[in-house]
């Protein structure tokens, strides 16, 4: 029983897990609750700092080995909301889940959402996240009209496209390194129903995927699940999923459901090529008809995995790694086929292969990951001897096809690969707050915090 109180302790040295649970680093974890906590908490801190949110990044962009992690989730207040314009100003630690709880009953929705709602507003900006509507809406940063950045020396910088535009552009997708995002204003979009008009379509091969992508340009949300274990005639089969917010006026509220929690670390032998191939075959044929049309709630449409809290435990103690690339259109088809073949050949398993076309809406962020072309996200359980050589090969192939990898999902790319993917990294290095750094940044640049 833990009733012990020790009074004025304000932090704890503990492993702070990233979503991939790899690498595991110890850090000093300092929770923040109020806007004025930063930079006050940084006094007498050594070894650098990093603001972090809900820890949903897979690799090490949200980790700082032996440093200080400033956890912002206690800063979750709404500062202002205008139901006329849909402009929401909130503290940076508010989660997208909390924003939805607030906005949906009022007839508003997130302009861009990733596949989990357990992401903070600050984290969404720092990683310039994208969603199933990238081809029409661009990235999250496209809808952030203003935010306040606080540097560790106490300087407060108001950022918008017109005010301090260089800090605005470097912070969107800036991996949290340019300063502490205290609050931000986001433009929500109106909806009249919780429901999504959904259509799922089976496809065989990359060309059918590309044809479906071309045919669905007017549809707001599109994404595909692809079976990356199959070869031969089933190679690159998948399900193309598309949807629009239902325009039929309907109830916006819903009673909360109980959540499932994945209760333990799955033993490694559960996840092998055979079991994943079986899962993929089942998943593909779960949709019996070639086309399936339904009206469904937005929750299962956007967040199928959020229903199982800690689903990352499914991958066992050694963790998982995501690998996500964006390859521009000219080599996108060729690159995707080559990489999928390499993955199938490796025999390493991935349940969640997600394929999507990025559109050409430019992000205001200099370091933003998406670019027009194809993106593919794969996750792998970590098997030290096999995973990393594969990741390195896949990263090199991505580079050859003119693409780049997503830092929020990486724990493996080399410094040379990162610097080739993001030549603008030196610009970010100039705008970096001298006290702020991450294990990712130290790994891919060799930069150390200047204390």
């Amino acid at each position: 029983m833990s009733l012990r109180s020790t009074g004025e302790e304000s932090s704890v040295k503990a492993p702070f897990e990233s979503w991939g649970r790899y690498p595991l680093y110890r850090a000093n974890v300092i929770p923040l609750h109020w806007q004025s906590d930063f930079p006050a908490v940084t006094q007498n801190l050594h070894n650098g700092i990093l603001p972090v949110g809900l820890g949903r990044s897979y690799g090490d962009v949200g980790l700082l080995k032996d440093g200080n992690l400033l956890v912002t989730t206690g800063m979750d207040r709404i500062i202002a909301f205008d139901p006329e314009t849909g402009l929401l100003t909130a503290e940076a630690g508010i989660s997208l889940a909390q924003i939805l709880d607030f906005a949906v009953p009022r007839g508003f929705f997130l302009p861009v959402t990733p596949g989990t709602k357990y992401v903070t507003l600050g984290g969404a900006i720092a990683n310039d996240i994208h969603g199933k509507n990238h081809h029409v809406a661009g990235t999250f940063g496209c809808h952030v009209t203003e935010f306040e950045l606080v540097r560790s020396d106490g300087t407060v910088i108001r950022c918008s496209p017109s005010q301090n535009p260089e800090f605005y552009a470097m912070t969107i997708g800036g991996l949290g390194l340019t300063g502490f995002i205290r609050w931000a204003t986001l433009r929500l979009k109106p909806i009249v129903s919780r429901k999504i008009d959904y259509e799922g379509i089976q496809f065989h091969g990359i060309d059918e995927f590309l044809a479906l992508t071309e045919a669905s340009k007017e549809i707001e949300y599109t994404v595909s699940w692809v079976d990356c274990t199959s070869t031969g005639k089933n190679f690159c089969r998948g399900i193309f999923m598309q949807g629009d917010h239902s325009t039929k006026r309907a109830e916006l509220k819903r009673s909360p459901e109980p959540k499932l929690v994945f209760p333990f670390d799955a033993p490694g032998f559960l996840l092998n090529h055979l079991s994943v191939a079986a899962f993929n075959t089942l998943f593909f044929h779960k949709q019996i008809q070639k086309r399936q049309v339904t009206l469904q709630d937005y929750e299962p449409f956007f967040y199928p995995l959020d229903k199982v809290l800690h689903w990352n435990r499914m991958y066992g103690k050694s963790g998982l790694l995501q690998f996500q690339y964006a390859i521009p259109w000219d080599l996108a088809r060729e690159g995707t086929v080559a990489i999928l073949k390499e993955v199938a050949k490796s025999g390493l398993a991935s349940f969640l292969a997600v394929l999507k076309a990025f559109g050409d809406v430019p992000s205001p962020g200099v370091m933003s990951f998406p670019k027009p072309g194809i993106t593919l996200a794969l996750d792998f359980p970590i098997k030290p001897d096999k995973s990393f050589p594969l990741f390195e090969r896949l990263a090199d192939m991505t580079l050859e096809f003119g693409g780049r990898l997503y830092p929020a999902k990486d724990a493996a790319m080399t410094a040379a690969q990162f610097q080739a993917f993001y030549p603008q990294w030196q610009q970010l290095a100039r705008f970096r707050d001298p006290m702020i750094t991450s294990s990712f940044w130290e790994r891919v640049t060799g930069d150390q915090p200047n204390l």
């Binding site: 029983m1 833990s2 009733l3 012990r4 109180s5 020790t6 009074g7 004025e8 302790e9 304000s10 932090s11 704890v12 974890v29 300092i30 929770p31 609750h33 109020w34 806007q35 004025s36 206690g74 207040r77 709404i78 500062i79 202002a80 909301f81 503290e91 607030f102």
Partner: protein, 257 residues
Amino acid sequence: MSQSQIANTSPSQRRILVLGATSGIAEATCRIWASQGASLFLVARNAEKLAAVAADLRARGASFVDTAVSDLDDTDAHPALLAHAVNSLGGLDVAYLAHGVLGDQTRAEQEFNTAAHILHTNFMAPVSLVTWLANFFVQRRSGVIAVLSSVAGDRGRKSNYVYGSSKAGLSAFLAGLRNRVDREGVTVLTIKPGPTKTAMTAGMKGAEKFADVNAVARSIVAAIDKRKDNLYVPFQWQPIMFVIRHIPERVFKKLNL
């Protein structure tokens, strides 16, 4: 007993006074009331934090939010503060006391002034507030006084007996007051939360296992709606504390709790 008025008051018309409104549990509770459209009067020491909480509750749908910056240790200021709150809200249905300090047990073991400060904030100040509020509600023959005490008050333990004794005193005071005013149509709710994830407990050993503050807040709102007398939250603390209260002293004094 006459049928309580609060049962007839819809949540959206409820007028609620919150003392210690920037505490983690209070803020989470207020978010529920705000989303129901209640009117709130918030009191806290720090003006900047109070303003942030008030803005959040306005945005979440509170019908009315007013605030007062006040150090509740100053008991002389209580009558004027409470009168002002009632005036601002145009009446009062629920008073929720959520202020308190954990204090520094180790220091309090060495110096009386530290212990006295904890006892003053957690016991004397609530006694002053609750006395005024009880008399106000008795006159109107309606009202709910909900007070955050603690499971730590159920038995003194070496790790935090100063805090624990302040909460023990508070719980006993509230039990006696309940016995006095229940027949006058006034409800007194003693809330005993176990360790909860808030700013007060941030960074404590084992904090990741503490109760979720939103779940605690939902239980408190429900207990007030049902006009309960006592609430252990999460409910598992009721049997746990039953056992702890009944461990024989000769055994208990040897334990490391």
